[in-house]
């Protein structure tokens, strides 16, 4: 005789059942004692798995109009019942046993599938991250120059409100003259602007809009130094860096959101770090290609190095963030790379030299510009 602790459910009993001690012998299942005994013949009983985690065993039978069930929760009792059940119940016990084994197998398969899926997604993500630059370049290659120019115009229209452009002075003429020499034969139609801003900076907008801060022109000792910066900016335009960065960032976000669902804060950080890495690589490329462009246009390439040295020494460059958190490589590193690249290059023949610019008059023109400034 088996003794089974469990809970009894059925018509007239509390919804959450009552705790009982049931006894199972070769003939019948008996619950309770004395007058209050409830019993069912073995042939009436059916066994199945039940409960929240399907680990309980339900023994149910019909009594009059209602259905009663005994739920056995204790794992030891469940095992005993399955292995030592009377012969007439053994068939059902084995069926339950098979079901449990099969479910365990399904569960393992499902878990393996999930793990595999996540691993594959992660590997794909890593591969794509590693190849992000060529892929972004390939996608950006499909964007017509016309669209890029429209995008640039829109961005410039937005930026223009915060800029004070000096578009009719000697400085702008000088920038234009140098710029045009640097961009001979380009597929872009460049626009050259000078903005009143004392900081040493310049930026390029996709489609060929280049803006130089007046502070940079004041700091440049001659035209070749300014040409170094312009060559760098021109390379940003020619290499379509902004467009590629846009493609890369958008693509990464799409990818992340398909792989991990919600991008979340971590995803944002990863995206930004990835973007900064892309930015540093782009800067290096613009430096190196810019140097070649400078030489090809007949400018003194040392000018680029001299200006970078000035950038390094300029105030505000003191508390630079650590390299991996920065959008640009550290300036000393950039100078060293350029110097290395410049080594062994033959000097540009006199005949190919860029035409001279009256630099002192450009500087005088900027200094004479005394219109009210917001800075």
């Amino acid at each position: 005789m088996l003794s089974l602790p469990g809970r009894l459910y059925g018509p007239g009993l509390p919804g959450a059942g009552v705790p009982v001690e049931a006894r199972l012998d070769a003939l019948q299942l008996r619950i309770g004692s004395g007058d209050d005994t409830r019993s069912a013949l073995l042939s009436q009983l059916s066994l199945r798995r039940a409960g929240f985690d399907q680990r309980q065993l339900e023994i149910s039978w019909t009594e009059g109009a209602g259905r009663f069930a005994l739920l056995v929760e204790d794992p030891a009792a469940v095992e005993t019942l399955l292995t030592q059940a009377p012969a007439s119940l053994r068939g059902q016990g084995e069926a339950v046993h098979r079901q449990r084994r099969r479910d365990g197998l399904y569960q393992r398969i499902a878990v393996s599938a999930v793990v595999l899926w996540v691993a594959l997604a992660l590997i794909a993500l890593l591969l794509l991250l590693a190849a992000a630059r060529p892929i972004a370049g390939w996608v950006a290659g499909w964007v017509p120059v016309r669209y890029e120019q429209q995008l640039g115009e829109a961005v410039f229209a937005h930026q223009q409100r915060q800029l004070q452009l000096l578009d009719d002075g000697a400085a702008q003429h000088a920038v234009q003259q140098i710029g045009e020499r640097l961009t001979r034969g380009s597929r872009y139609r460049y626009q050259w602007h000078v903005a009143r801003d004392p900081s040493l900076n310049a930026f390029a907008i996709p489609g060929g809009i280049v803006v130089v801060h007046s502070g940079l022109i004041s700091a440049a000792a001659d035209a070749s130094e300014l040409a170094g910066v312009l060559a760098h900016e021109v390379e940003h335009v020619e290499q379509r860096h902004s467009l590629k960065a846009l493609v890369q960032q958008t693509g990464l976000r799409l990818l992340l959101s398909t792989v991990v669902g919600d991008v979340g804060v971590i995803g944002d950080w990863a995206g930004q770090l990835g973007g900064l890495k892309f930015s540093r690589d782009s800067e290096r490329q613009a430096d190196e290609q810019g140097l070649d462009r400078l030489l090809a246009a007949g400018f003194d390439a040392d000018g680029m190095l001299r200006l970078f040295a000035k950038l390094d020494a300029s105030p505000g460059n003191g508390a630079a963030p650590p390299g991996w958190l920065s959008s640009h490589p550290a300036t000393p590193e950039r100078i060293a790379r350029l110097r290395q690249r410049l080594e062994g290059r033959p000097a540009t023949p006199m005949s190919d030299r860029a035409p001279a610019i009256d630099w002192p008059s450009v500087q005088r023109d900027l200094a004479a510009d005394r219109r009210p400034s917001t800075d």
Partner: protein, 270 residues
């Protein structure tokens, strides 16, 4: 550990709170932030973990706290004990409109499995654990996720859920199909599974989602008429200030607009 027997009274209809009366020396545990008021003489103590495991040592507490974190509760529980001489009262309030129900754990077999986040307060000694959903399909599509909360002990516990709470007894073998997300609590004896709604048209246009939750008796289940997420969804959809639509998807282009388009010669990282 002997349970503290507490007397209580529930106030309000749609936004309820429960006032609990503690005899001298009795204590109750509450979800962090749920306390509404307490009378003089009741001392508050914040414990790491669920407050039932004072003797288990540091690691036991850490595991208890970790489990609470998984179920979306705070790492800490607050224990309120009556250190005065007479009976003292304190109250716990529900965090959103809904219904509060007392569950006397011995009446339901000593264990109640409930939705994450539905625990409000209990007599000291009730332990709060987690119950993992072992069925992959139910975890993914059953509406309650892979982790549910398990209340164990022989005292009184109060759980809270949105809208109206409906308590139902399921006879042996009786099946109830429930909209996913509406399950608040069930006893261990109830089977919980999912079922495809059937038919492509129903799956797409019935508004019930792809799956029903299927509950099979015997046992007791508690259902909520209005899950908080559903109400939050409607509120967001009706709020023009945040676009009048669910704002879960951030803009794909966000953060790479104008700023990222300028390739300067110097970084502007500051």
């Amino acid at each position: 550990m002997a349970m503290d027997i507490i007397d209580y009274k529930i106030f309000g209809n749609d936004t309820q709170f429960v006032e609990v009366e503690l005899d001298p020396g009795e204590a109750a545990v509450g979800e962090a932030g749920a306390m509404m008021y307490m009378e003089d003489g009741i001392a508050m103590d914040t414990v790491f973990g669920d407050g039932s495991s004072q003797q288990r040592g540091f690691w036991g507490k850490l595991v208890g706290a970790g489990k609470r974190l998984v179920t979306g509760e705070s790492l800490f529980t607050t224990v309120f004990s009556n250190q005065g001489n007479g009976k003292r009262k304190l109250a716990f309030a529900a965090p959103y409109p809904g219904t509060l129900i007392p569950v006397h754990l011995p009446d339901v077999g000593g264990t109640l499995i409930c939705q994450k986040d539905s625990f409000l307060c209990a007599a000291k000694g009730v332990s709060l654990g987690i119950e993992f959903q072992r069925k992959l399909g139910v975890g993914l599509f059953g509406g309650e996720g892979f982790v549910m909360q398990r209340l164990e002990g022989d005292g009184l516990a109060f759980i809270h859920a949105g809208g109206t709470l409906y308590e139902r007894d399921l006879q042996p073998g009786e099946i109830l199909r429930v909209d996913t997300g509406c399950i608040v609590a069930l006893t261990r004896s109830v089977s919980y599974d999912i079922q495809y709604v059937g038919g492509l048209k129903s799956a797409l246009f019935s508004g019930e989602g792809l799956f029903f939750a299927v509950l099979q008796g015997p046992g007791k289940v508690w259902l909520q008429s209005l899950p908080l997420s559903r109400m939050a969804n409607r509120i967001v959809m009706a709020a023009p200030a945040i676009g009048g639509r669910s704002s879960e998807q951030g803009s794909l282009l966000g953060g790479v607009a104008a700023g990222g388009l300028l390739g300067g010669i110097l970084g502007d990282d500051e």
